[in-house]
Amino acid sequence: MTSVETRLNSIISEFADLDGREKLELLLDFANRLPPLSATYLERKAIEDRRVHECQTPVFLWPEVIAGRARLVAEVAPEAPTVKGFVALLAEAIEDQPAAEAEGLPDDILERMGLAEVLGILRTRGLRSIVGHVKRGITRQFNAKI
């Protein structure tokens, strides 16, 4: 098992036995832990096209590879705490892990957390597209640096 999988499994197990309301409460804890953008990224936000256009609420993502290790810098509007919590969770799962492992983030995280039932089909689909977005971003950077 890779280290990203181990981290992810541990996060998923935190959610496993909670009821729907508690799952959302825990997701809010993740949302509250997402750090605000640093001055560098605030500057970059102004000039780079980092908005995820699929999301109606403003979501800005920087999936990055630094010395072969992945990380995700993000800003999500406060009016979308579910998205913010999920992005924070992905960031925690891949932070400083080998980029090749982060590329392998599974697509069924929400189902395994039991959140898909709480959120419904359309929201789950929207969040899953964020996983794809992160993975593609990491792959692009990884390939560019090899």
């Binding site: 309301r21 959302l24 409460e25 997701l27 809010l28 949302a31 256009h53 699929e54 999301c55 109606q56 609420t57 009016e79 979308a80 705490p81 579910t82 998205v83 919590g85 039932e117 709480v118 959120l119 419904g120 089909i121 359309l122 929201r123 689909r125 929207g126 969040l127 597209s129 794809g132 593609r136």
Partner: protein
């Protein structure tokens, strides 16, 4: 028109703060983002979710009559309860839930004008308490077909040259925007609009604080600029039927349209149907003119939602 035709369906945040605990009143929050309710809700409000509570999880349809009765009983709603809906996103989902309640004939439904945004701007307190309503009894009638338009009805309506209002953004209406490059297309296979539909983006109906525009402004927008008529049968649609339930609410209750239905299948159905008419461009019949209604009204229209 100096005031709304049915002003009683709109209540202020002040009214809600005063009446939320009344035994005959139930406040219901409906959001795009469910975690907002957990973060804080109007004291005493229950949450009804449009995807998980109001839609059937197997068929692509709403819960059936028995399911609706069960939902109302669970949330302490009786047939004579005044149900006040509010939510995020300019009350999109509040209007959607309101519409489903009207689909099942609930008599007294209202909207808290301005939704979560106005409650916040008014500096009112949020509660994180769990709400445990007392179970009620509830008996619902069969669905009221006068508020809902199904695909085949829309097709007949269109062929008869009747009024259609497409409330999506100008880019979605013209067919310019269907999905982003580099992303899977999760919506419809075809872009454009139903021939004859006028484009009145929903956003033109609301103020910055989430409240509805004045009767005078709404009348100008819908009956003068867009030439819709109060007594003509009218169908509203968007992508999945939520933005159009807001427009349906405006037309039916604020402007008093006598026959307006929401096509909840909307573009997610129409844009995937085989053999239905579709046109592209900024004009109702297709093609393009330099100025559409949205531009004339000087509006900035936000992009299309995807996870909404």
């Amino acid at each position: 028109m100096a005031q709304y035709v049915h002003p009683e369906v709109l209540v202020t945040t002040e009214w809600v703060a005063e009446h939320a605990a009344d035994p005959g009143v139930r406040i219901v929050e409906s959001n795009e983002d469910r975690a907002l309710y957990i973060q804080g809700h109007v004291p005493g409000a229950v949450e009804i979710d449009w995807q998980v509570d109001l839609q059937d999880q197997v068929r692509r349809d709403y819960i059936d009559r028995a399911g609706f009765e069960q939902l109302c009983r669970k949330y302490g709603i009786s047939n004579n309860t005044t149900v006040v809906f509010y939510g995020d996103k300019n009350n999109w989902w509040a209007c959607y839930a309101f519409w489903v309640f009207k689909l099942y004939g609930h008599p007294d439904c209202r909207i808290m004008n301005g939704g979560r945004k106005r409650w916040d701007l008014d500096g009112r307190a949020w509660s994180t308490d769990r709400v445990h309503p007392q179970q009620t009894s509830y008996v619902a009638p069969e669905q009221d077909a006068s508020v809902r338009a199904l695909r085949d009805e829309v097709l007949k309506h269109q062929k008869a040259g009747r009024a259609l209002v497409d409330v999506r953004s100008p880019e979605e209406y013209s067919g310019q925007r269907l999905h982003m490059p580099d992303y899977p297309n999760e919506g419809a296979l075809r872009g454009g609009h139903i021939p004859g539909a006028v484009n009145v983006p929903w956003v033109l109906s609301v103020n910055d604080d989430g409240t509805f525009k004045s009767a005078k402004e709404l009348e100008k927008l819908y009956t003068k600029d867009s030439r819709l008529k109060r007594r003509s049968p009218t169908v509203a649609y968007c992508r999945i039927g939520e933005r159009s339930s807001l427009t349906w609410f405006v037309l039916k209750y604020l402007l008093g349209f006598s026959n307006v239905r929401n096509y909840d299948g909307s573009w997610m159905e129409w844009g995937n149907c085989v053999g239905v008419p579709v046109v592209k461009g900024t004009e109702p019949s297709g093609g393009s003119e330099p100025h559409g209604v949205a531009e004339a009204a000087g509006a900035s229209v936000p992009p299309a939602p995807v996870h909404a």
